[in-house]
Amino acid sequence: MHALPNRIERSCLKGLSLGIFLLALGSVQASSEHGDEGDFNPSEFIIHHIADAHEIHLMGGVHIPLPVIVYAPESGAFDIFMSSVFHHGAHHGASGLWYTYDHGVLAAHDHDPSGHSHGTDHGHGEEDHADHGHGEGHHAGGVDIVDLSITKSIFGMLLMMGLVLVLFGSAARGYSKRKGQAPKGLQNALEPLILFLRDEVAVPSIGKKKADRYLPFLLTVFFFIFFSNLLGLIPFIGGFNITGTLGITMVLAGLVFIITTFSGNKHYWGHILWPPGVPLPIKFILVPIEIASIFIKPAVLMIRLTANITAGHIIILSFTSLIFILGNQFGQGVGMGTGVFSALFMIFMYLIEFLVAFLQAYVFTLLAALYFGEATQEAHH
């Protein structure tokens, strides 16, 4: 009885101390890396890490290039190239358009944007470029583009989805291979979660009869969010912020909205469009609110998830920034000293983020299940 917990405890302690060491090392290394630049902008640093990008920024100056896929509807141009081309300044695509990548903003131009300064700028040497700080759209000589690139978040999402497919595919094989036997290994690890989602989330919210129809979606959404959140917590692999990417959570929430709307029965729409048992004047107030709530509910789902995950990342990155701020202000020694304390706080935040990773996946799934249950509920008994 005592041997196993002790072993787990010991390995936890080992992992923890290793984590502290690595984080401290990372922050000290980072402080020396940024310390020399002098002018440290924490908000830029944080946004750079949590915003979607066309490359994965590993430790130090190591970047993993990602494919850029661009479509320009006006000219019908279609370009695919690796983001590493931007190391040499603007890129002249095969379709004839010029592309620049500046502070996470991809832009297309119909002429060479660095035309007047013919030299070959290295790195991100386009600080003085006109479209700095702008979003997509028209710039000086800019061209409208549809950016379909495999960005950092999308790459992370695809990676995570592959992982989920492999995990659950092999877990599912256990059910056919050892039919009627006790679960084993991976199957045993994932089964409690699946059972939890079925018996504590789907069935109580939707009802036993209809839960089966929505269960595949709910399970997929839960594990999508959960694994995305976990992937975002792994340090040194570029800080994936998949569920903090608005475009991705929007799709999840949008699907919840579509499913809820399409599975709404007469009872559901009746309650929204003509709430029973309410005096007529109140109805005129209530009905617009109810109609708005159809859209507000999924929007809130989207914002809650994005904000929670992004906030967690921001807090962790803020502790990192603290090292640079103090290091710049009071010298490298203070920065290193702060690094140790920041690392401790970051570990604390990481533990909370583990909880949040599960909690947000659970909350999203539970609320989605409640909306489905609301939409399919039969008239009152």
Partner: protein
């Protein structure tokens, strides 16, 4: 900040496509078999539990059956014993009655025989007595009448007797 707060079109497209593909694949590859497997296992466990309950009830039934059979057997044995005792009692009683009757009959027969024997013996005795008395009488007469005087006396006595009469 723009990049954070504006949903990028590309990510929406990729997320939609890949989520739907993964949903489809997982539904086919994972959720179907897993949920079915779970349901099968639950049904199996429930079935096994029910079977155990039934078996227990059956055993209880069997036990009560056994008890009943045992009781019946015991009752039957008791009955048989009682019957046997009754029968033996009756047989003994019968035998006693028969023996009594036979005895009485034999006694009666014996009595009868004894009576007959006695009557015969009495008759014979009577006859014997008669012959004896005759012989005695003959011998007496012969002796009385052996000489003339005696004869005379006798005659005389007889005559006097008859005279008296």
């Amino acid at each position: 900040m723009d990049a954070l707060l504006t949903p990028a079109f590309g990510s929406v497209v990729w997320a939609t496509v890949s989520f739907l593909v993964v949903l489809f694949l997982l539904r086919k590859m994972a959720w179907g078999p897993i949920l079915q497997g779970l349901k099968d296992r639950e049904e199996e466990i429930e079935g096994a539990l029910n079977a155990a309950k039934e078996a227990r009830a059956e055993i209880q039934n069997l036990q009560s059956d056994n008890e009943r059979l045992l009781q019946e057997a015991r009752a039957e044995r008791d009955g048989m014993l009682r019957d046997a005792r009754d029968m033996s009692d009756r047989m003994v009683a019968d035998a006693k009655g028969l023996a009594k009757e036979e005895g009485e009959r034999m006694i009666a027969q014996a009595k009868q025989a004894i009576d007959g024997e006695r009557a015969a013996a009495v008759a014979e005795l009577k006859a014997e007595v008669a012959t004896l008395s005759l012989e005695i009488a003959e011998k007496l007469v012969r002796k009385e009448l052996g000489d003339d005087e005696a004869q005379q006396a006798l005659i005389g006595r007889m005559i006097s007797d008859s005279k008296l009469n």
